[in-house]
Assembly symmetry: C2
Homo-oligomer: 116 residues x 2
């Protein structure tokens, strides 16, 4: 699934219930030209900037990190966290590459619960 198709599908679902989710109105709310959003949804141009993707995620009630990933990007706040301690995070992330989801989830949970 491409970024554009995903956005179009999810916007269309909302539009069926509420006509404020037309290309034109969503475009206006996220601060771009309607023609540009149309082209994005059809894959005619590359996905927009992180800022516009964030606005779109808010508008369509989607997960920002997932949308950014589909756009081939990684959230700038995550990049900043990594850049502050590059060796530590680089090592850990490469270790986790081959781990299954549940193991990663468990680590996140243990960290959150203060089991460290």
């Amino acid at each position: 699934m491409t970024f554009g198709k995903y956005i179009r599908e999810h916007r269309e679902v909302l539009k069926a219930e509420d006509r404020r989710f037309s290309v034109r109105q969503v475009a206006q709310r996220i601060g771009v030209e309607p023609a540009y959003l149309s082209k994005i949804e059809r894959g005619d141009v590359a996905p927009p900037s992180e800022a516009k993707i964030r606005a779109l995620a808010g508008e369509l009630n989607e997960d920002v990190d997932v949308l950014l990933a589909m756009a081939g990007k990684v959230s700038s706040d995550l990049q900043e966290i990594i850049r502050k301690r590059p060796q530590l995070f680089a090592d850990l992330i490469r270790q986790l590459k081959s781990m299954q989801d549940h193991a990663i989830l468990r680590i996140a949970r243990d960290v959150r619960d203060g089991d460290w």
Copy 2:
């Protein structure tokens, strides 16, 4: 410490022992114009692309992730790992943001040793 100054300092150390570490010769080995490397080291232009930074890291025997971080970048292989499972990694990394180094190191070690 900026990217450029760091490179210059470390290259100068090597140059003191081995004149093959002049701006011109290093530039040639990493595949850029000498004037460009000179400008990079003096901060006259932005740091180079990830590919050139990797070549420079190899040449100067420096950690790629550290150099990329100083250049304001995150290794593309790490970005790809995150993009494949954005929610999982985004959550975990944000959890780890406030953790001390030793805790993150310990997680990496436990994962490596298969304690999961």
